[in-house]
Assembly symmetry: C2
Homo-oligomer: 360 residues x 2
Amino acid sequence: MRRMTAQLWAVVPAGGAGTRLWPLSRSASPKFLHDLTGSGRTLLQATHDRLAPLVGERVLVVTGVAHQEAVRRQLPAVPEDQVLAEPSPRDSMAAIGLAAAIVERRDPEALIGSFAADHVIADPEAFRECVVEAASVAETGLLVTIGIMPARPSTGFGYIHLGAPLEGFTTARAAAAFVEKPDAERAAGYLASGEYRWNAGMFVARARVLLDLLADEHPDLAAGVRSIAADPSLLEAVWPDLTKIAIDHAVAEPAAAAGRVAVVPGGFGWEDVGDFAALADLLPETEPGLKVLGEGGSVLALESTGLVVAQSGRSVTVLGLEDVVVVDTGDALLVTDRAHAQDVKSVVEALKRTGRTELT
Amino acid sequence: MRRMTAQLWAVVPAGGAGTRLWPLSRSASPKFLHDLTGSGRTLLQATHDRLAPLVGERVLVVTGVAHQEAVRRQLPAVPEDQVLAEPSPRDSMAAIGLAAAIVERRDPEALIGSFAADHVIADPEAFRECVVEAASVAETGLLVTIGIMPARPSTGFGYIHLGAPLEGFTTARAAAAFVEKPDAERAAGYLASGEYRWNAGMFVARARVLLDLLADEHPDLAAGVRSIAADPSLLEAVWPDLTKIAIDHAVAEPAAAAGRVAVVPGGFGWEDVGDFAALADLLPETEPGLKVLGEGGSVLALESTGLVVAQSGRSVTVLGLEDVVVVDTGDALLVTDRAHAQDVKSVVEALKRTGRTELT
C-alpha cells in the first residue's frame, strides 16, 4: 500500500433527522448526537475518534444551525471555527462543497475525505487503512469512493459497480457506475456477483479536483461555495440559492461515467444504523435474543426477544413478545416490532400532522 | 319481589394484590384503589356508590393496615371507625366474620351483604334489585349468594349449581352445590346447561346466621371474631391465630350441602377485572380495536389494536402490533399482549425473585 503524501482533511457532514429512529432520534437531537452502541461515545464522537489518528485537528464538521453548539460540546478537540453551520439544509453537495472550498483556500492540493457523522464502523483500524489507500489513489487526481462489501442483499443502499483494477494499487478498482437502490431480486444478483459494493457516501479527493468536477456539472454551485470560502460574510446571502443536490448525483455519477472515479473496497463492519432493526443487529445480546441499549439493569424480559432502548430510568418489562421493539425515553414511548422498523418514520409524520411537533 | 324488612349492612372486603394487573396495581396501591373504567371513580368508590342507596352509612370496609388511610381518604362518607384494618391477611372468612360479629353486636337480626371492593358492575340498579331479593330471602334464615349469569365459558371462576326454585320468591333458587373452577370442556357444559352461575363471592345473610353457620364448622374462628367484636383491644392478640380460610370453603360449601344456601341469579354486567384482557373488554374503543385507559390524547396507535394504559403523562405510540398491551406508569412500563394477560403475575414473581420489590 502506498502512503498518502498530501495533507488529508476530514469533512464530517452531521445532518439528517433519523426519523426511523424516533423517539431516540429527534429533530432537536438527531441520531449522530447519540451513543447508539453503548460505547460511551456518540456516533459523532466515534466518527471523530476514528479519523483523528489520520487528520489530527484537520477536521471540518458541517451541521445545522440548531446543532452547532451540541457538536462543539461533543467535540472539544475540534477548533470552534471548524464546526460550520448551514443556515438551512441544502443537501450533501453544498455542505461538502463548502468544506472543500475552505480547505482549497488553505491548500489547493490538500485532500478531503468526507465521512458521515452517523455511521458505525466495527474495525476502525481497517477503516483507516482503506482511507489511506483511497487518499493515495486520490493524489492521482481521481475522485475516490470507499465501497463497502455487502453483508446482505440490502435494498436500502445504492451500489457501486466495480470496474477494472487500478494499476499500481493494492485493492483499488475503477468505478464502472453508481447504481440506485435495487429491488430485492437485483440486490441478490449484486451480492452473488461479487462485483458490487455498497455506496456509503464516503468520498476522498483533492479539494480542487472535487470542486473542478463540480464546476463542470454545476458551475453556479461550485462558484457559490468558493465565494463563501473566500468571504464568509457572504454565507447568509449566497447559501439559500445554492442548488440542493446530493454529492452522488452532482459529481460522483457523471465523473464515474467519465472514467474519473475509483473505488477502494472496504470490509470493516459498516452500518448506517438506519432503523431499529439495524440498531438491534449492532448490539450484543444481554440474554438470548434480547438486545438492550441503555440501563440493562432496568430491563426485564420474560419469554421475549427483540430490542429495548431504556433511556427514561424507569423499569421496562416485556412479556411473551417476539422481535418486539420498545424505545423508552423521558417524554415519549414507542412500541413496535422489527418488521415495522422501516415504518417508524410514519410516526413522525403522524405526529407532525396532528400538531404534536414538540415530540418530533 | 318482597322487600327486606331488616336493616342491611354492606361489608366490603378490600384486599387482593391484583398482580395480574401489574404495574397498574401494586402491593402499595392495589387495584381497588384505581379507576379502571375511566369513570373518575375508583373500584372501591364505585362499590360504595353502588351500595349506598341500599345501606346509607351502614358500611364496613375491611382492608389491610397498609391501605386503611387510602380507603378512608377515598370514602369520606364512611365513618372512620367503619374502616377496619386487618393486622395481617387471614383470607375472606376472618375478614367477613369480623364484620359480621360487629354488626351482630349492634343488631343480631341485621343482615349483612358482602361485596368485594374490586369488581365492576355495568348496571348498578339491576344489581341493587338482586341484593334486595337476596336480602329478603336471607330474612328466612338462609345464606344467600348472588350467582352471576355466565357471559362466556370461563375457567377462571368457581360456579354455583342451581337447585329447585325457592317457593315465594321471584328468581331465587336453592344452591345445589358450589363447584371449583372447571376445565374448558366442563365450563362449556356449564354454560350450555343454563343451570350454573358464576360464584362472585357475594353473600347475604343475617349476621347471626352467618356466624352460627361458621360456629358449626369452625367454632374457634367464630368465637375469635365474636371476641374481637366484644372487645376490640383483643384484635392484635386474637387475629394472628384465626384460621386462614375462604368464606366459600368455611361456610358456603358445607351449608349448601346441608340445604341452607339459596342463589339469586343476577345479570347486571359483572366483571372482576382479573387481568388486562378483562380490562380491555371493559373499556370503550377510542379507535377501531384500540382501548385506552388514561390520557387518550397522549396515545397514538398506527395499524395497531390492543390496550394502552397511559398513566405517566408521556406520549405512547404503538405501531403495527396486534392485541398489544402497553401499561405505562411513572416508574414502570409493561409491554405484553392479550394472550399473555394471565402471565403478568409471573412478572411480579420475577421482580421479587431478583430483589426489585420496590416495583411490586
